[in-house]
Amino acid sequence: MVEWTDAERTAINFVFTKLDYDSVGPESLSRCLIVYPWTQRYFGGFGNLYNAEAILSNPMIAAHGITVLHGLDRALNNMDDIKNTYTQLSELHSEKLHVDPDNFRLLADCLVVVIAGRLGTDFTPEMQAAFAKFLSVVVSALGRQYH
C-alpha cells in the first residue's frame, strides 16, 4: 500500500481545489496531442486534429479532457487504495481502448506542466513532488490489468 504523509495529502488536495477542470482538462489533453503527436492515434474519430490550433479549439477533445481529468477524482477520494480503484478503468484502457500504457505517463507529464502554468510559484517543488507521486500511482494502477 502506498504511504502518504500528511503534507503530501494536503499538497495533493490543495492542487485539486485550485483545479479548473473545464480549462485544465482540455489544455492538458490538447498539449499531450500536440507535444506527443503519436498519441493522436487514439482519437481518429475526434474530427480535426490537423494542427495545434485545430486541436486546441476541438470541442470533442475539450470534452474528453474534462472527462479524463475527472477520472482522477476517484484516486483523490480513495488515496489509500488507488490500485484497486482503477481495476475496471485499467481493463477498459487495455481491452477496449488498446492504449499503450506509456501514454498515461505522457499525459501525466502534460498535466503537471499545465498546473505549473496555472499556479506559478504556488506550485512549489514539494507540491510538485507530492502531485507527481500521486500521478505515478494512478499511472501504475491504470497499467495493472494489462497482460
Binding site: 500536440i34 503537471v112 507527481a132
Partner: protein
C-alpha cells in the same frame, strides 16, 4: 525526430525572451529535480547543502542553464557544438542518460510556471524536442 525550421525559430525566439532569467530558471529546475526525483541526489553527494535554492544548487543551476542557452546558439549542429560537453558527461560525470529526461521535464515545468503566456503548446513541443536533442548530443560520446 528532428527540429523543423519552425521548431528552431520557436526555440530561439523563446529563449531569446526568457534567457535573461537563466539563473532563476536553472535554480528552480535543479531544485525541483532534486526534490521530485530524489534518486538524482546521488550525483551531488559532494555538496554541502542540497536544499532548494542553496548556494550549491544556485551555482549549478546557472551552469546548466548557461549550457542550455549555449546549445540554443548551436541549434543547427548540436552534436558538433556540444562535443566537449558530451565528453565531460561521458567520461567524467557519467550521468546516466535517463536523468536528462528528468531534468528536461523539470525545465518544462519551470518554464510553464514562469512564462505561462509565452509557453504555448507550440513552444512546449519545440522546447521538448530541442531538449531531447540536447540530451542525445550529450550522450553522443557515452559508448
Amino acid at each position: 525526430m528532428s527540429l523543423s525550421a519552425k521548431d528552431k525559430k520557436n526555440v530561439v525566439d523563446f529563449f531569446g525572451q526568457v534567457g535573461g532569467k537563466a539563473a532563476e530558471i536553472g535554480n528552480d529546475a535543479l531544485s525541483r529535480m532534486i526534490v521530485v526525483y530524489p534518486q538524482t541526489k546521488t550525483y551531488f553527494s559532494h555538496w554541502k547543502d542540497l536544499s532548494p535554492g542553496s548556494a550549491d544548487v544556485k551555482r549549478h543551476g546557472l551552469t546548466v542553464m548557461t549550457g542550455v542557452l549555449d546549445a540554443v546558439d548551436k541549434i543547427d549542429d548540436l552534436v558538433g557544438g556540444l562535443l566537449s560537453l558530451s565528453e565531460l558527461h561521458a567520461f567524467t560525470l557519467r550521468v546516466d542518460p535517463g536523468n536528462f529526461k528528468i531534468l528536461s521535464h523539470c525545465l518544462l515545468v519551470v518554464l510553464a510556471g514562469m512564462f505561462p503566456a509565452e509557453f504555448s503548446p507550440e513552444v512546449h513541443v519545440a522546447v521538448d524536442k530541442f531538449l531531447a536533442k540536447v540530451a542525445l548530443a550529450l550522450s553522443e560520446k557515452y559508448r
